[in-house]
Symmetry: C2
Subunit: 135 residues, 2 copies
DNA sequence: CTAAAGCCTCCTCTGTAGGGGAGAGTCAAG
DNA sequence: CTTGACTCTCCCCTACAGAGGAGGCTTTAG
C-alpha cells in the first residue's frame, strides 16, 4: 500500500532529492514514517506531486503552492487565492515582458549602430564606443 | 589628485561596498594603494564606473563587462566581442520573452476559465480545480 | 550471513550583485 | 592627544529549487 520515497520518485519521474525537498518545505509531506524513519506515501502523493508540477509550470513558486495546499488542507477552497495569485503573476509578467522587450530593442539598436561604426576609429580613451555611457 | 573610495562612491552616486566589490571582481581596479592600504583612484575611475553602469543597463553581466575591460586593457578593441555579446543577449531575450509571453497567455486563459467555474463545485479530492494537472 | 541497494540527516554549493557588520588600523581637526 | 570619520579585510546573508556528497542505519536478495 504505502510506497517509499524511491518508488514515488521513480513513478513521478523525478529525483529522491526533490521529493525530500518537497517534504521539508511542506508542499508534499510524507503521510507517515516507518518504524525506521522511512518516509511512506500513499497513491494520492502522486496526484499531489502532479499538482505541484502543474502549479510550477504556470509560474507559481513553491512557497505559494505550499499556501494553496495549506488552505486546502484546512478544508477551505483555495480558488479565490489561486485566482488572485494568477492575476498578479500575469500582471507581473506583463511588466517583466515590457522591460525585457525594451532592453532587447535597445540592444538591437545598439547592434545596428555598432555595424555602422568603424572599429578602427574607436576612441582609445573609451572602453568601448558601442556602449554609450550617456555622459 | 587621487581620491579615496568614499569620494569616488559619492561622486559616482553609489556605495563604497559596490566600488570595493568592483575592485575585487576586476571591473574597476584601484589604480594604486596608499601606504596604509587605502584604494586610490584618478578621475578616469569615474568614467569607467559610468561605463560599467551603462553596460549593466543594457543587460551585460559584470563578468562580461570585466572581459570587455580586460580586452581594452590589453590594447585590443573589444568592439567585435561586444557586438557578439549584444547579438547573443538579444537572441536570448527574444527566447525569454517568448517563454514569458506563453506563460502569461496560459495564466490569462486559466484566469478566464476560473471565473466560469463555480467554487462550490470544486472537487474536494483535488487541491484546486483551477490548476489542471493535465494528467 | 553478507553485500548491495535504499534510506536517513546534515552540510555545502550553484548564480547575481552586492548588503550588513565585526574588529582593527588610519587620518584630520580641535 | 583624542575623538570621530574613514578605511581595511574577512565572513555571513539574500532569493530559488534543488544537486552532490559524507557518514551511518535498514532492508532485501542471494
Amino acid at each position: 500500500m504505502a510506497m517509499r520515497i524511491g518508488e514515488l520518485a521513480e513513478r513521478a519521474g523525478t529525483s529522491v532529492k526533490t521529493i525530500r525537498y518537497y517534504d521539508r518545505i511542506g508542499v508534499l509531506k510524507a503521510e507517515e514514517r516507518s518504524e525506521s524513519g522511512y518516509r511512506l506515501y500513499g497513491e494520492d502523493a502522486l496526484d499531489r506531486y502532479r499538482f505541484v508540477r502543474a502549479a510550477q509550470a504556470v509560474g507559481l513558486r513553491l512557497g505559494e503552492i505550499r499556501e494553496i495546499i495549506a488552505l486546502r488542507d484546512r478544508g477551505e477552497t483555495p480558488c479565490g487565492f489561486v485566482v488572485d495569485l494568477i492575476g498578479r503573476r500575469a500582471a507581473e509578467l506583463d511588466a517583466r515582458i515590457a522591460e525585457l522587450a525594451a532592453l532587447r530593442d535597445e540592444l538591437r539598436s545598439l547592434d545596428r549602430r555598432a555595424r555602422r561604426l568603424d572599429p578602427r576609429r574607436c576612441d582609445p580613451r573609451l572602453v568601448c564606443h558601442v556602449i554609450d555611457q550617456g555622459a
